[in-house]
């Protein structure tokens, strides 16, 4: 990881640093959607705290940290949390 600039008060002067900083590697469980059960109600998209679910309700694994909120909120149990294996 490139060492960031030590600015006063840790201010980041250029916007967009959240996109550059991929956090998918933090995940130990990945959400997997069963498209047959999914009704595209959009609750997972609404509740995802990392904006890692897009408008087609696909998960962006570059940023998903595997918190499981989408699986928990899904009324149709269409999302399963599957253990990440190397």
């Amino acid at each position: 990881m490139k060492k960031p600039k030590i600015t006063v008060g840790a201010v980041i002067e250029e916007p967009g640093s959240t996109i550059k900083n991929k956090t998918g590697g933090w995940r130990s469980f990945r959400p997997v959607r069963d498209k047959k059960k999914c009704t595209k109600c959009g609750l997972c998209w609404q509740f995802c705290p990392d904006n890692a679910i897009n408008e087609n309700f696909d998960v962006n694994y570059d940023y998903c940290k595997g918190c499981g909120i989408c699986a928990n909120i899904c009324p149709f149990k269409a999302i399963k949390m599957v253990k990440e294996e190397k």
Binding site: K3, I6, G9, V11, P15
Partner: protein, 381 residues
């Protein structure tokens, strides 16, 4: 113009002269008079600050953080449990390098519940990254508020400042105070020009995560800045003297009759005024004793204290706080300052004046006797 006013009013007048844009406030004894006066000034059209009535001190300091991040000068005040509730955000304000100024009307911490004066509240926030200045009189309180903004907002500092005044013992005491003229303060304290601020036209990120590969560098940067602020505090004190013909020692410490003294009493806040009287009395009895008033507890002015103690054989340290299980905080700091010196005075710590108990001249005299008579070997006859 001199007026007889309460020290809380002196603080409020000092704040009014600095014209902060935002004042988040939550009342707590013995600080409440400060924000009450500020509310009066706003109501009477004398001050155009936005006052935010929040639901707790945690919110008061959080609102101050937010306002300051927008590049606005802010003020708040608290004491005791209120300061303790702010604890979490104090570190964030300092780490984000936001120059908030806050008055603390020093009060004891529970339990048992006690609304009266000691220094336990602000001493417990020693490591938060706030500059801490302890004042002795209403005049010093007013002057120090104005100096605090000039120190905090200096581009080489950008750290928050706590102006600490003894609850009741000073905050509710009426004294003659010279109230500075607005135009003179405007000359002394320029408009706040933030180094960075939240602005939709030029977005920046404030308060991001610091990973293990940078966190220590950020902490060191804040620490180094705190040490460098020693010179800025001195400069501001000198500039204040040039502008208003008044100063407080070198801005960090103030001494009284120390030049030819063999013994010193070290104290903070109003106990210094009592000590001045005791020093005069003891001098009449031929005792060579002086006072070292520590105004700046953070940054701690080690070198300044060491250099005024060249001929000092013993120091009695009066602490209005206690680090339970060890000793008074000022005592710890002073002894540590002398540890690597070849010539060290004997230093003894005295805990006094907790929870509003008076520190009397007799207490100071007892402390002096104990340091004067102390020797390495004592006979048990």
């Amino acid at each position: 113009m001199k007026k007889v006013i309460e020290a809380s009013t002196a603080v409020a007048l000092g704040v009014k002269l600095c014209e902060p844009g935002v004042i988040p406030m939550y009342p707590i004894t013995p600080q409440t008079h400060i924000v009450e006066r500020l509310a009066d000034y706003i109501n009477d059209g004398l001050l155009s600050s936005e006052m935010i009535h929040v639901e707790s001190e945690h919110s008061a300091i959080s609102a101050a953080l937010g306002a300051e991040a927008m590049g606005v000068r802010t003020f708040t005040a608290t004491a005791s449990q209120g300061l303790a509730l702010m604890h979490e955000i104090l570190f964030v304000v300092a780490g984000m390098r936001l120059p908030v100024v806050m008055a603390v009307a020093n009060r004891a911490l529970s339990a048992p519940i006690n609304i009266w004066n000691d220094h336990q509240d602000s001493i417990s926030e020693r490591d938060s990254g706030w500059i801490q200045l302890y004042v002795e009189s209403a005049q010093e309180a007013l002057d120090t508020i104005i100096q605090a903004y000039k120190i905090a907002e200096n581009r080489k500092v950008l750290l928050p400042v706590m102006v600490c005044l003894d609850g009741f013992t000073l905050s509710h005491v009426y004294e003659p105070v010279d109230i500075l003229k607005q135009e003179d303060v405007n000359k002394f304290l320029p408009q706040y020009n933030p180094l960075f601020k939240l602005d939709p036209k030029k977005p920046i990120t404030m308060g991001p995560i610091g990973f293990p590969n940078t966190y220590m560098e950020f902490r060191k940067q804040t620490h180094d800045t705190m040490l460098d602020s020693i010179n800025i505090i001195k400069d501001v004190n000198n500039q204040f003297k040039e502008s208003f013909n008044r100063s407080y020692g070198n801005g960090l410490i103030e001494t009284y009759k120390i030049e030819d003294a063999n013994y010193a009493i070290a104290a903070m806040g109003t106990a210094c005024s009592t000590t001045r009287v005791v020093v005069d009395e003891l001098r009449k009895q031929g005792k060579k004793v002086g006072l070292i008033k520590i105004k700046s507890f953070r940054p701690f002015p080690k070198q300044e204290i060491i250099s005024c103690c060249k001929n000092i054989k013993g120091i009695a340290v009066i602490d209005r706080n206690i680090s339970l299980g060890n000793e008074g905080a000022l005592y710890t700091e002073l002894r540590s300052a002398f540890y690597n010196q070849n010539k060290k005075p004997i230093i003894k710590g005295f805990i006094a004046g907790l929870g509003g108990r008076d520190i009397t001249p007799d207490h100071i005299k007892t402390a002096f006797k104990k340091i004067e008579n102390s020797s390495d070997t004592e006979w048990l006859l």
